[in-house]
């Protein structure tokens, strides 16, 4: 109890002196680091542009209204493409993420124990699966798209694969965490009934993770709609192509319509995904 006696009066403090000092030191280091980073950013900024920014913002704002509503007729196909990229990408990701998740989860990853010299070493698929998950998660879908556009050429296909590659890690990570949290008693019961490994998987594990899996898939689909709206900026199809084209010719009224349609699409997909997840869980 951090109570000190100061001139014969007991004073209560929340923390001991050492702990208080270390917290203070943490704040000092953190603030210094922040200021250092800020200095770095400030040095590489042309402040003259920043002081000009309110005028520029007002200028862009005034050009953006009124929206060119008639442009909407040209947006239905790109919007449909965007939704397709997100959906097909999610489907592909699910296809690969499910096996990866089973290979990554501690309780389902197949492993071999090899005896070398007096030691027994356990080889498991877990590290490999985790590496796949981390690599997929670390690289943004836009970077995957950059890469794929230079490999398979511009178009929807590159976008679908990019979304798929990025989503594998996300779905597999959440799914393997769900697999690790299952009720082990059910697995034991099915095993005790003489089930094979595949049957244990089908009757003990899959039913337990099914709701979580459906929730994860729909959640990722919703994120993918948002991500696929920008893939067009690097040539991977979808509504981003129209955004890029309109920005290049400074057609701000068209940009407004595009942004509004993205906003609506994202809000609707979020609503759908929330509804579905609510119905499942």
């Amino acid at each position: 109890m951090p109570v000190s006696v100061r001139s014969e009066i007991k004073v209560w403090q929340r923390r001991e002196r050492g702990k208080q000092l270390s917290i203070w030191l943490g704040w000092l280091v953190g603030t210094a680091l922040f200021l250092y980073c800020w200095q770095f950013i400030s040095d590489s900024t042309m402040w003259i542009f920043v002081w000009d920014s309110p005028r520029v913002a007002a200028d862009i704002g005034s050009r953006m209204v009124p929206p060119a509503w008639s442009y909407m007729n040209k947006l239905w196909v790109p919007l449909w493409d965007t939704i397709n990229i997100a959906t097909l990408g999610t489907v592909i990701a699910i296809f690969f993420a499910v096996p990866v998740a089973f290979l990554a989860a501690r309780n389902t990853a197949p492993s071999v124990t090899v005896r070398i010299g007096g030691r027994s070493i356990k080889f498991s698929t877990r590290p490999l699966a985790l590496l796949i998950i981390v690599s997929s998660r670390s690289i943004n879908s836009l970077i995957w798209a950059l890469l794929l556009v230079s490999i398979v050429g511009p178009g929807l296909f590159a976008g679908v694969i990019a979304i798929g590659l990025r989503s594998i890690g996300f779905i597999a990570k959440l799914l393997y965490e769900a697999i690790e949290e299952i009720d082990q008693n059910q697995v034991e019961a099915i095993t005790a009934a003489g089930a094979s490994r595949a049957q244990v998987m089908a009757y003990a594990i899959v039913p337990q993770i099914m709701p979580a899996f459906a929730g994860i898939a729909v959640f990722r689909w919703d994120i993918n709609i948002r991500e696929s709206t920008v893939l067009g900026l690097v040539g991977a199809g979808g509504i981003g192509l129209q955004l890029q084209a309109s920005l290049n010719v400074l057609a701000w009224p068209q940009v407004t319509v595009i942004l509004l349609s993205i906003l609506v699409a994202v809000l609707v997909s979020e609503l759908v995904s929330a509804r579905v997840r609510h119905a499942i869980i």
């Binding site: 042309m46 943004n140 920008v230 979020e270």
Partner: protein, 269 residues
């Protein structure tokens, strides 16, 4: 005892995920039709892909011999920008998210404030960082400042939303107890609500630092600073060995960040 007298064993089937058979079949059929139509719109150019396979192979091989040396100065500058952007934008994002998160929690904010804050959160969440970055680059010029502001704005959508949901889930009796002692509004927030949401807020902030670093690698594509610009150039020039080096560095930093933030979160909770 002969088998002919026993009744035929009843077949047991797993209960399906969707109970209503009509709905189940309709959903299945709808999904099949949709997939067929959607795949039909892809227009896959197989000859182009076949040509690209060589390049894909070059890229895969590049991972075995990444080139860190040739453009090291560019990579170092890009990384420094990305890391500083990630850190400053997370700090600024947290500072902005806390008031907006408080305003977006229905149980402590009045309706007009709630609606305004929720609208900010919805806009920030709906637009991908890159779209926001395009506008901030137009406003503030090229460079990491535009990226920092973009990421700060994107952080609001994430942190404020989750913070608001967390505040809505708090144990109301603790807050009420503090209020019953005659606490002012600020004291009520500080002693009744903050202790309940603090561990999660710290965890989410660390997680957001991760995300901001990952996103800082892409806002560079539209000129908002960071490693993305270097990466984009490398891809444009088909310098796959340099691109591979950059990607390996990003993966390594994300892994380190994720591991250490996991350790910190485990200690806090």
């Amino acid at each position: 005892m002969s088998a002919s007298h026993t009744t035929a064993p009843r077949r047991w089937k797993r209960p399906p995920l969707i109970k209503n058979p009509r709905l189940r079949w309709a959903l299945g059929l709808g999904a099949a039709i949709y997939l067929a139509v959607a795949v039909g719109t892809l227009e896959i150019n197989w000859s182009r892909i076949y040509e690209g396979l060589d390049r894909g192979l070059v890229f895969v091989i590049a991972f075995t011999e990444p080139d860190f040396v040739q453009r090291w100065d560019d990579i170092r500058d890009g990384l420094a920008e990305s890391l500083t952007m990630a850190l400053t934008s997370t700090v600024i994002g947290i500072l902005l998210s806390v008031p907006i998160g408080l305003g977006a929690a229905r149980n402590i904010a009045p309706l007009p404030v709630y609606l305004v804050c929720r609208a900010i959160v919805a806009i920030s969440r709906s637009f991908q960082e890159v779209i926001i970055a395009i506008f901030f680059v137009a406003m503030f010029g090229f460079g990491p400042l535009a990226g920092m502001i973009t990421l700060s704005f994107a952080t609001i959508g994430f942190l404020a939303k989750l913070l608001a949901e967390d505040i809505e889930d708090i144990n109301a009796s603790q807050a009420e107890a503090v209020r019953a002692t005659g606490a002012r509004w600020l004291q009520w927030i500080n002693y009744g609500i903050q202790p309940q949401v603090m561990p999660r807020l710290i965890g989410l902030s660390l997680y957001r630092l991760d995300i901001n670093f990952r996103e800082s690698a892409v806002v560079g594509i539209v000129g908002a600073g960071g490693i993305g610009a270097t990466l984009n150039t490398a891809f444009d020039r088909y310098d796959f060995d340099i691109a591979a080096a950059i990607i390996i560095i990003i993966i390594a930093i994300v892994m380190i960040a994720e591991y250490s933030s996991g350790l910190i979160r485990a200690r806090l909770q």
